[in-house]
């Protein structure tokens, strides 16, 4: 039966059919749905781990125990999981181990455009790249076979267009795998220098064997047409090439590392010129050049952003670009109406603090009119940065870290331990909305629910912070903005670390039904309500201030900032 499946759903289906027993992940766009979908299969143990490093280690443990296991993350998640990845390349696996890593060319929902393919090369593990949902399923299954055949973790790389694109997939049956017996093997699994030296040699010979076998892999295939130009490409770019250059000869790479050099040389000898078309870095191009195969690549195409059918046509066939109308007002993403983070950012802006922000919905507190965030670097960075700020500028006293509940557990906690240990005085706001918001509401260790919505122990963030040695830990309701303001002022004065936990569940999970608000004739047009950046409130000269009843969810934040009693419930 053929079904229209999201790329991520197809990866999940592939894992299911491949007999995967254990899957772990931390949510991250564009990879999140894979593990969400896996959680629906009764045959598979799945979990949200606190971060990608732990997720990788869980999957690796399951692999050593003898079952097929998978770990999924977005590209920046692999930075967190890089440590276990690099050494698991040395140990190899027992049951098949696949790491799915989703890159985000064009940065739809990410802080950088890093290219995962370099990780494969640095860690000496093979990397496969599917070009549509059908291949996503097929390559996932193949990745497990390769993992077991070559005793290596395998990276399956996707990009946003693949992960969040849908196309038809033929569904198959699950094939149960008998677990490979676990046998204690210190030389293989204990990576102290003496063993690691021996394993490094094995890694080298494994990759040589893989590279020479790659020439014969069916997923690396040549289609000859017009032999003037030979295009080398992989992933979703292959689909762009097929549409933009239907007459070109194409070498499609299903495995991008290691490269099938004999196949590439054969292709090169049959076409006049090779052009490598790849998104992001010249990963394939530079390897060709290093191996003496002349080609063109990044002198024609940008390293930045996505490629497209039109970009390829513009570069290679002289198509005139179709220009967008850039005079129109932009529509950036905003905190939702009723978002519990809004009041906090209103206060932070009002107090003109230096705010070390973090990764999550609350990154949007950086946008006007809230304009409250000074820095956003990576998951958990805000606390360490606020600590660094205070060590560099001890007299500044107006630096504050802002982090979400899930991000705090992911990697904020270590920054807090550091701040206490090294006698810092950072003030940390944990915006606890009881979910992982931006990625679409996943559970985490402090929600009291597992990925399958089963009850579990709920991590108490206040107790955790106290255990780190923070003496001043206060929990406050996100609606009580007066108290939040006075708490922030008090804590900033203290010469010790403090944590303020601002608590209220995400509006989108609560979906509380309340009456919307409206502006009444008391309005003096002072526009203080505009400073909260609510998408429901607008102003124009003629109509004055207006609350859009269809957007307003009745959270009442505007009411609490209005000084003229000019806002009331719609009757």
């Amino acid at each position: 039966m053929k079904e229209l499946l999201l790329g991520n759903a197809a990866v999940a289906r592939g894992a299911y059919e491949a007999g995967v027993k254990v899957a772990a992940a931390y949510p991250g766009t564009p990879s999140t749905e894979i593990t969400e979908i896996l959680s629906g299969y009764g045959e598979i143990y799945s979990e949200w781990s606190p971060n990608e490093k732990v997720a990788f280690e869980v999957a690796f443990g399951a692999s050593v125990a003898g079952v097929r296991s998978m770990v999924c993350m977005k590209h920046v998640g692999l930075n967190v999981a890089a440590d276990p990845l690099f050494t698991s390349s040395y140990t190899g696996i027992n049951g098949g181990l696949v790491a799915v890593v989703a890159d985000d060319p064009g940065m739809f929902s990410s802080q950088n455009e890093q290219d995962t393919r370099f990780y494969a090369r640095s860690a000496h593990v093979p990397l496969l790249e599917p070009s549509d949902s059908a291949e996503a399923k097929q390559y996932t299954k193949l990745a497990f076979e390769l993992s077991e055949k070559y005793d290596t973790p395998v990276i399956l790389r996707t990009t946003t267009r693949l992960a969040h694109g849908q196309s038809f997939v033929e569904l198959g049956e699950r094939e149960e795998k008998t677990p490979v017996p676990y046998v204690k093997n210190v030389q293989k699994y204990v990576m102290m220098p003496v063993n690691a030296k021996a394993r490094h040699l094995i890694v080298e010979s494994r990759m040589k064997r893989l590279a020479s076998d790659a020439d014969g892999f069916e997923i690396n295939s040549i289609t000859y047409n017009d032999k003037k130009t030979g295009i080398l490409c992989s992933g979703v770019v292959y689909q762009y090439v097929k549409e933009a250059l239907p007459d070109a000869s194409v070498l499609k790479l299903g495995m991008v590392y290691p490269l099938p050099f004999n196949l590439i040389r054969q292709f090169a000898s049959n076409v006049d010129e090779i052009i490598v078309i790849e998104e992001l870095e010249p990963f394939i191009e530079n390897q060709l050049k290093a191996n003496g195969i002349p080609c063109k690549g990044k002198e024609l195409f940008s390293k930045q952003g996505e490629l497209s059918v039109n970009i390829i046509k513009q570069v290679l066939t002289g198509l005139e670009p179709v220009l967008a109308d850039n005079t129109l007002p932009a529509r950036p993403p905003v905190l939702c109406a009723g978002c519990p983070h809004r009041g906090v950012f209103y206060i932070l802006n009002k107090l003109r603090l230096t705010v070390c922000g973090d990764i999550g919905c609350y990154t949007l507190g950086a946008n006007a009119p809230l304009s409250a965030v000074d820095t956003v670097l990576c998951m958990g960075a805000g606390i360490g940065m606020a600590h660094g700020f205070s060590k560099a500028l001890p007299d500044k006293k107006n630096v504050i870290a802002v982090i979400g509940d899930s991000t705090f557990i992911h990697s904020g906690i270590t920054g807090l331990i550091d701040c206490v240990y090294n006698k810092g005085n950072a003030t940390v706001l944990i915006l606890d909305n009881s979910t992982t918001g931006m990625t679409g509401h996943q559970n985490h260790p402090a929600t009291g629910k597992t990925i399958k919505e089963e009850d579990t122990y709920s991590l108490d963030l206040a107790v955790l912070c106290r255990a780190c040695g923070v003496k001043s830990v206060t929990t406050v309701d996100a609606d009580d903005i007066e108290r939040i303001e006075s708490l922030i002022k008090d804590e900033l004065k203290k010469d010790e670390p403090s944590v303020i936990i601002v608590k209220k569940p995400c509006e989108l999970i609560v979906k509380e039904i309340r009456k919307p608000y409206m502006i009444n004739p008391n309005c003096k047009k002072c526009k203080v309500c505009m400073k909260i950046g609510c998408p429901a409130i607008s102003y124009n000269e003629k109509a004055g201030l207006k609350i859009d009843a269809a957007v307003c969810v009745g959270c009442g934040l505007c009411l609490s900032v209005c000084k003229f009693s000019a806002i009331e419930e719609v009757l």
């Binding site: 007002p329 993403p333 931006m438």
Partner: protein, 190 residues
Amino acid sequence: MNILIVGVGGQGTLLASRILGNLASVLRVDCKLNEVHGMAQRGGSVVTHVKMGEKVYSPVISEGDADVILAFEALEAFRYRHFLKKGGAMVVNAQEIMPMPVITGVARYPENVLEIMKKDYGAVVIDAQKYAAESGSVRAVNTVVLGCFAKKFGISYENAEKALEMSVKPKLLQINKTALKKGYDILPII
């Protein structure tokens, strides 16, 4: 056929594309969809690509290559008009949603966009919000627009309804069926 669906995060572009994907299944043609999840969804400008045909390669519609733009908001329709093929069609919900730069006063919502799109692109402009509200939920704007599109492109009501049934939770099916029918009946039979 290349169909670009545009709107504001939260207006249901994902459901609309799912319905069209299922329509492709009903019509037994190849299909690829491309969606946006994550940050861009939070009230931002959202665009979803739907491509149907004998064999579809790229999952993304190129600028100047859309046969149809289905728009749930006026400014978003206008923003993506350069995706439309010469002679392509637009179905636009007349609703205007102010983006944050307009709300904060640093930009103005452009004037007469609906008139321009009617005149220059022959856009079918409908008050989908009204029909959606009459169907039982203002959130059914997406289904109203789809209904109107189906009629304009000669897709039988039965097939459109079949695709809808495959895509919507049973709880919301009745509201969406009513919305689809209302959208379908806006245009006269050609």
